[in-house]
């Protein structure tokens, strides 16, 4: 009985401690300044704490990652559920799920040694950029999007697709007119969960994004995300600086909770619609 509340109490503890460690400095600096100021000089004699560039960095990277991860993830899911020989599925699905198991540092590393030089050589700029981070994160969120979408598509009653085929639709017409619509909220949940992964990813991003302290203006600009800000500076921070990093965590936490609640709402809706709960 007590054990059952482990997850809930862990969540409560985490929330309490992160907020307690981060809120004071947010109040001191002022919520508006903390979020909308461009100045992050935590170690100056009169330090300033503004995380606007990091918020923009996170948003830019996440948006880019979604474009890649969602399109590839959806494509994989559709191919797996609709156009694939069962034997091929039994090889492809675990292969894609294997991607989820590869440590994020390895993704980041591959990004640094292969992607970054390619971008520098062919697209210009420094190489370490929003684009590189988006590509790496897009690949990383792909398994999440794929496997949840596959589940959502498989939950669509067979009769829907059969009915459509029987009316003379091609397989593709059936897929995009009937199945994707029926699985819509499930796919939405997959996309949002993938988004949560992208916002929250830390190590891979640190390695390829350049960690520059300006708001990025193009996808070839370097940037810094909320997560990388925390991981980079935690090691040597103290006092108000450390508090400010926890405050960064608070902002990240709030964003993630909003995203996840949306995903949960969508997947509940989906389950109810599919008559599964």
């Amino acid at each position: 009985m007590l054990v059952a509340f482990s997850a809930v109490s862990a969540l409560a503890l985490i929330t309490a401690f992160i907020f307690r460690a981060g809120l004071p400095i947010m109040m001191k600096v002022g919520l508006g300044d903390f979020i909308f100021s461009n100045e992050w000089r935590p170690t100056d004699a009169s330090p300033s704490f503004g995380i606007f560039p990091m918020i923009m960095g996170s948003l830019a990277v996440t948006a880019g990652a979604m474009v890649i991860g969602v399109s590839l993830g959806l494509a994989c899911a559709i191919v797996l559920t609709q156009f694939c020989h069962p034997r091929a599925v039994s090889v492809l699905k675990p292969a894609i799920e294997l991607l989820a198991g590869i440590p994020s540092v390895v993704f980041g590393f591959i990004g640094v040694v292969i992607l970054v030089p390619l971008i520098r050589q062919y697209l210009g700029g420094w190489g370490l950029s929003v684009l590189a981070a988006s590509l790496v994160l897009g690949i990383m969120m792909l398994p999440t999007v794929t496997s949840i979408t596959v589940d959502a598509l498989q939950a669509v009653p067979r009769s829907y697709g059969d009915g459509s085929i029987a009316l003379g639709a091609t397989k593709w017409q059936t897929t995009h007119m009937v199945l994707l619509k029926a699985a819509g909220s499930g796919i939405m949940a997959a996309v949002i969960l993938g988004m949560g992964r992208a916002i929250g990813e830390t190590m891979a991003v640190i390695m390829v994004i350049g960690n520059w302290l300006d708001v990025p203006h193009s996808i070839l600009d370097p940037a810094r995300t909320l997560t990388s800000n925390i991981a980079l500076e935690m090691g040597y921070s103290a006092g108000e600086h450390r508090q400010a990093l926890f405050a960064t965590g608070v902002v990240l936490f709030v964003i993630i909770m909003a995203v996840n609640t949306a995903a949960l709402a969508f997947s509940r809706h989906h389950l109810r619609k599919a008559g599964m709960r």
Partner: protein
């Protein structure tokens, strides 16, 4: 008959297959790249010796030990707690507001990024409970991180056990606890095992949370309160600080191989499970 529709179908199929192929290609490339660059540098000495001069020379033995300690302890903590929670949710309660709260907690916990777990582990275990950067603090942090996965997979495995088994077991005179342990858990074991093994993989590959809670000491740990460095973190430090690309590749290869092994093991167990159920 309907040339446009057929044409669209052909284009769509081609595009979809290309994208899916691309994905598989990327996966194979990543694994292949790391193995090709790293395997030649993996020697017996690399696996059994201690690192010298920050890891530029020598091996990764204490780091392997540290990884096993942190990830193993995390699973030892999260495994029983997660499985018991799943049992409680499925066998001892009916769907109610209470179970909805527990499930919501687990779902939310699952979505929290590892860096937040790291921050929490740092203020709570490392500072507040005075553990310092240590195996224990790292393992506790990781156990919280993988807990939702274990709860979720165990719950699904338990729910997959046919309801009729429960009736049969009660009919033969079992108590609820006997029924749960001898029938339900026994039948759900492969599913539960898969979840636990995947969580082990996640613990091994986690970097951010471990960096903030287990430290980065290069010595062999002597107690649970010693700081250790895990493979993933060692790899990060080697490559990021440009200490030794050769050793970095070798470490990455060890890491990827162990993750591959763990995933294949989980997949194999799952296959056997499915084969037995049908």
């Amino acid at each position: 008959m309907r040339p446009i529709a057929v044409h669209t179908q052909r284009i769509a199929t081609t595009v979809l297959w290309t994208l899916a192929g691309l994905t598989i290609g990327v996966l194979l490339f990543i694994i292949g790249f790391v193995l090709v660059r790293g395997l030649p540098h993996i020697t017996l000495e690399f696996l059994t010796a201690a690192p010298r001069s920050m890891g530029r020379e020598g091996g990764v033995f204490p780091i392997i030990v540290g990884t096993i300690c942190v990830a193993g302890l995390a699973i030892l903590i999260a495994g029983p707690v997660g499985v018991l929670t799943a049992i409680y949710l499925t066998e001892y309660t009916r769907p109610s507001r209470l179970t909805a709260v527990i499930r919501f907690g687990a779902d939310c916990l699952a979505g929290i990024p590892s860096i937040i777990f790291g921050l929490f582990g740092f203020v709570f275990f490392v500072i507040r409970l005075g553990m310092g950067p240590s195996i224990l603090a790292g393992a506790l942090t990781l156990s919280l991180m993988v807990l939702p996965t274990i709860i979720r997979t165990s719950e699904e495995a338990i729910r997959a056990v046919p309801l009729s088994y429960r009736d049969v077991s009660y009919g033969l005179g079992s108590t609820r606890w006997q029924m749960v342990m001898r029938v339900v858990i026994r039948s759900a074991l492969p599913g539960i095992g898969t979840g636990i093994i995947l969580s082990l993989g996640r613990s091994i590959s986690e970097t951010a949370a471990v960096m903030l809670t287990a430290g980065s000491a290069l010595n062999l740990p002597r107690s649970a309160y010693d700081s250790v460095r895990t493979l993933a973190l060692h790899f990060y430090i080697l490559s990021r600080e440009g200490i030794s690309m050769e050793k970095a590749y070798a470490t990455a290869a060890v890491l990827v191989l162990s993750i591959l092994g763990i995933n294949l093991l989980a997949y194999w167990i799952m296959r056997r499970f499915i084969a037995r159920v049908t």
